[in-house]
Point group: none
């Protein structure tokens, strides 16, 4: 057994959990599956985490706080609002691109799971919506975005589009090649900012 620090062991277990959660879903994975995947004794999972739920919580929190930071970072730049939205969309898309299993778990098991975990993390999820709304709001003040659509509503809209896009990839409904990831960012921004209608 290689000597690992506590932090490394936690990570080892978290990484394994991502894989099995992504593969089988949270409810269908037993703690034993996580331990097996991590090549670690059963009890060690409980040495590092209070419960199976706790593992998912941590997975979510770690990732989501990065998203929050990314949105704040985008907002802090001096670029035009549509570009800020593009940065946010790009961050989320790249998150999926480079770690599709983790994003699958977060979307399927947390973000979109109203009852169990969604409720637990609702406030954190909502913070992201609010930060995006702020970007929209500033765009409205600057005269870049229309004012007859509520900023928070627009934010929900924007996030909904991205999450549906990721769902499409997760379910294998839309192609997920490198080119698709590349194009997706702009497509999202174009759709949301310019709309489908020609004029």
């Amino acid at each position: 057994m290689a000597r690992e620090t506590a932090v490394e062991r936690r990570r080892q277990i978290l990484d394994a959990a991502v894989r099995v959660f992504a593969r089988q879903g949270f409810h269908s994975t037993r703690v034993a599956d996580i331990a097996d995947e991590a090549e670690v004794a059963y009890g060690l999972v409980y040495h590092y985490f209070d419960s199976k739920e706790n593992v998912l919580d941590e997975l979510f929190r770690q990732r989501w706080s990065l998203l929050i930071e990314a949105i704040k970072g985008a907002d802090a730049s001096s670029r035009p609002p549509p570009d800020k939205l593009g940065t946010v969309a790009g961050f989320i898309i790249d998150s999926y691109r480079y770690d599709p299993e983790l994003m699958k778990v977060i979307i399927v098991e947390v973000t979109r799971a109203a009852n169990s975990f969604g409720q637990t993390h609702l406030e954190q999820i909502n913070e992201a919506y609010r930060l995006i709304a702020q970007i929209v709001s500033e765009g409205q003040k600057d005269g870049v975005f229309r004012r007859d659509v509520d900023a928070y509503f627009a934010s929900m809209t924007f996030y909904g589009v991205i999450e549906q896009l990721l769902s499409g990839w997760i379910f294998g409904l839309i192609p997920a090649g490198e080119a698709d990831f590349e194009g997706a960012r702009d497509l999202v921004v174009t759709t949301i900012c310019d709309g489908l209608a020609l004029r």
Copy 2:
């Protein structure tokens, strides 16, 4: 015990299931909860349904086929494509408006639950996406919609916005008064068709 036909009994159980699934989530409801809520003997649930999952399946299928019909109906009309989309959006919004529990169950437990049920019903879900894509596609042929956004992609986008909207209501993140329902339909269409950007 009132004399009920078999069909009425099934409905009685299905309706009860909607309420408990909405309240507790599918995984947290026991078959006994459904029976209690339906004021029916425990074993009777198994008399009418093969399994707990089967109950959810039926709930989904019944509702979703109405959606499919609604989309087909909208498409069959001779109205302009944005109006067709408005009809679809309106149908889904009204579905929530008049039976929020059922729609909550369908979205939370099926549509957004990739692993278990999502996979089972993927094809049916996808049919809705495809039918919406068809509306977009026709709009593109008619020169109403831009052609540089793939029709299926646009469809996903459109559906994603609506589902996020419903999620907002379900989670209590956005106000759900009658006026909100009234306005939501147009807001969705405006956002998707015209975009956020002023021009």
Copy 3:
């Protein structure tokens, strides 16, 4: 599987529990042991009882309430106080005589187990002490018992002697033949009432 009423099934499980608790002790018996001994499916124990602890609780409560009644009955008679104590002692001794396993369980796992169950049932246990104290107290008023020993203290003393006697039988330290049971009652009363000392 014989058709049994719910009450009979409960009893079947309770009786089996007495046997295994007596044999292995509460902490060493698994619920599976109870089910096996009762020749019943594992889950049925949980159908009838909330938990393993709950089974023991019921065992105790049923028996102890008989004891309470017996003490009240003895007190209600118009016999002299030492005879009343004799009746109580006789009841407890006979309880052991005719159902040694149950009494073993109650003494070892409840009455003498300060921490876990003792605390839970302390009030009920104490009621027995208080009722016995009342008999002593009346004897003091009548001039039959000395007054320089507190009635409650005397009651504890009396009960302590009996419980130690039963412990002796339980542990196999003193002979437990029919004659011993017969004699024990009077021996207890003699010791407590007349004392060891000659005068």
Copy 4:
């Protein structure tokens, strides 16, 4: 970390064990609780003791051998038998008076716990009973004690009274002030030797 001898470390752990056993009961204390209470590393408990049970064993044996010695000492004196019993009662009562936690543990977890530890230490426990019986027996030979009560039986009786008394203190059923401890010794002897009945 202070430099401690091995003997001191053992004592440190034993003393901590007494406190947690008294507080939570043997079955509810984890080895980690002992280590925490002793402010010692988890593994050190296993360095000094073979098992958790082993800790309790040692606690019991150390104390009980003192009791054995005390009884022998009392018997060796040339005082009248009732005084000898008084010495024994006084020793046990003082044991509780000056270390109630330890006595609580010994009574609740060993002496009164028939199954697990009671059996293990039965012989040692019984030795105390026998030594007390010897005192009674001598009293009978000397014509101080009645002969129609078996000496061993009388010994059980005597010990039962004391243990019930301690149980009363442990459970908080009888007052445990200094005066109560002072009086208890004589009360026990009076009750056992003279009996409750006036004559």
